[in-house]
């Protein structure tokens, strides 16, 4: 069992069984979907993605409440956090948070974790208590998108001035 399968098994434990069954039925479809259709529309769960194409082995779509559990599992499996990115899906009225994890390993496994929150109430629990390195990345995402990371020790502006009152990477932001 290589690293990717191990990690996948560990991560699948998070998703409830009945949902997972559903997933497994849709998974084949989902994996096919990766090839032609954007993997944006799909249900929560873990799927493998072709590394050569997407640059990540596992793609995890989860509820915002699950990001901490996933961070704990990945942290236990010696993953480190590469970055946290926000994506503003204006048409769907959603903000997406994309976490990238990788390992210091030659048996490489990159994991992308995605969670969506409504634009009107962008709140997601912080993972900076599990992974201290997430602290700055979360502050940066807050800085650019206004996503509130609940429980973050110091959620203030990091790159923009302290008194900035806008979130520049939102698609409807006009300078």
């Amino acid at each position: 069992m290589n690293r990717v399968e191990q990690t996948k098994a560990a991560l699948e434990a998070i998703f409830p069984v009945e949902e997972q069954e559903q997933n497994e039925s849709t998974q084949v479809a989902a994996e096919e979907a990766v090839e032609n259709e954007p993997s944006i529309e799909r249900q929560t769960g873990v799927i493998t993605t072709p590394f050569e194409k997407h640059g990540s082995h596992l793609d995890v779509l989860c509820e915002p409440s699950q990001v901490v559990d996933i961070a704990v599992i990945l942290d236990e499996n010696d993953f480190f956090l590469e970055s946290i990115a926000g994506v503003d899906w204006l048409k769907k009225e959603q903000l997406e948070i994309v976490y990238d994890y990788a390992r210091y390993d030659h048996d490489q496994c990159r994991v992308t974790v995605r969670a969506s929150v409504p634009r009107s109430k962008p709140v997601v629990p912080t993972i900076s208590l599990v992974i201290p390195g997430a602290n700055w990345h979360e502050r940066e995402t807050f800085d650019f998108y206004g996503i509130i990371f609940e429980g973050h020790p110091d959620l203030t502006r990091i790159l923009l001035p302290e008194d900035a009152d806008f979130f520049p990477l939102l698609k409807d932001y006009m300078p």
């Binding site: 032609n36 194409k53 997407h54």
Partner: protein
């Protein structure tokens, strides 16, 4: 008489290091709470050269963001070029001719040497040695001249294109590069190692200073020489081979001491490895085109793409989200020093001011890359 230093109730005072300070190499500000010369708390304050490149990426077509990539890490601009080219090529499914791949590797490695030389120079300047700076600049000048010959610019190269490179290399560049390899190899032992590395003052100054454990590296996502100085064998070029790196034989220097000296040694050894890579790549350089046929307007299919490259400072990631349009929908830059610097606060606690600055120098900060 007035008290020059306002003491707080716990007898600490706040020292503002920067944003304009000789040791911060740019405009980084560190808010230090000091007890005498000891640091109680260190908080880096970022954003003084923030230019919002991520928004700039969203408002222009893919190709027009390329010049901006060189403006982030101005010391290893070609690696940023390369990283961005890789992620777009991945998304749009562009094949790169082999000769172009080799030229990319050669130029990126030359640029890495230039970056490490400048780091070395600046680090020594932080430690108060001014002369090594000039020796390193002398060597760096040769690299810059070589790169200027083929790219046309000296610092902010915009050399890579999707599916190739801007310009082919010529024989003069190849002989020049071989001469440079010889030159650096002959100067390295005396001017770099005998004068500085073996110097007792330097050893005493940076050995056992700035201890970063492997666990701390992982928790903060540190990569590059910082991680390799803590005994972590992680180099994107080896761990997730991209471009033609798998065909080239080189080692990844790893030191277990976890201190500033280890990080110093990693970078010094890396220069030698880069020379080896360049030598082999020059030997293996195939003939052929340097630019693939690429459609004028790129429209990669919608989806999530990630690509990592190894810059002189660590793993640089580009997270690209495409919605199928002609502009990137979202381009997130994962800059290595941003993560590396987030370690600083924790590690610098309890250090002396002078040690903390030596430690900061050993992290190899490039501020525009942190602030993006």
């Amino acid at each position: 008489m007035t008290l020059p230093v306002e003491l707080r109730h716990d007898e600490t005072f706040v020292l503002n290091l920067g944003p304009q300070h000789p040791a911060t190499h740019g405009v980084l500000r560190v808010k230090l709470t000091m007890d005498g010369e000891y640091i109680v708390k260190a908080e880096p304050v970022l954003g003084y050269v923030h230019r919002m490149h991520e928004k700039l990426a969203e408002v222009a077509p893919y190709a027009q963001f390329m010049p901006n990539t060189a403006r982030m890490d101005y010391l290893h601009a070609l690696a940023f070029n390369h990283g961005y080219a890789l992620v777009v090529e991945k998304a749009a499914g562009i094949e790169v001719p082999e000769r172009a791949e080799y030229i990319r590797v050669i130029t990126v490695e030359l640029n890495r040497i230039a970056s490490h030389l400048l780091w070395w120079a600046a680090f020594l300047l932080d430690l108060g040695g001014f002369t090594p700076l000039l020796y390193a600049f002398d060597d760096r000048e040769h690299v810059i001249d070589l790169l200027e010959r083929i790219t046309g610019s000296r610092l902010t190269y915009c050399y890579m294109r999707f599916g190739g490179v801007y310009n082919d290399i010529d024989d003069e560049f190849i002989t020049g590069t071989r001469d440079f390899i010889k030159r650096l190899r002959s100067r390295m032992p005396s001017l770099y190692h005998d004068l500085v590395t073996h110097n007792i003052i330097l050893i005493k100054r940076i050995k056992d200073i700035g201890f970063i454990s492997a666990e701390q590296c992982r928790k903060y996502g540190a990569t590059g020489p910082v991680a390799r100085g803590s005994g972590i064998d992680y180099d994107v070029r080896k761990n997730e081979p991209f471009s033609v790196y798998p065909e080239l034989d080189f080692d990844v220097p790893v030191y277990d001491e976890c201190d500033s000296m280890a990080r110093y040694m990693v970078r010094m050894d890396e220069m030698e490895q880069s020379l080896r890579i360049i030598e082999q790549a020059l030997d293996k350089l195939p003939d052929g085109p340097v630019q693939a046929k690429v459609p004028k307007i790129l429209k990669p299919e919608a989806g999530y793409y990630y690509s990592a490259v190894e810059t002189a400072r660590g793993s640089l990631g580009h997270r690209l989200v495409s919605d199928g349009g002609k502009n990137p929908y979202k381009l997130k830059l994962r800059s290595p020093t941003f993560s590396n610097l987030s370690l600083f606060g924790e590690v610098a606690e309890g250090m002396l001011l002078a040690d903390a600055l030596a430690f900061m120098g050993s992290l190899d900060l490039v501020i525009p890359e942190i602030d993006r």
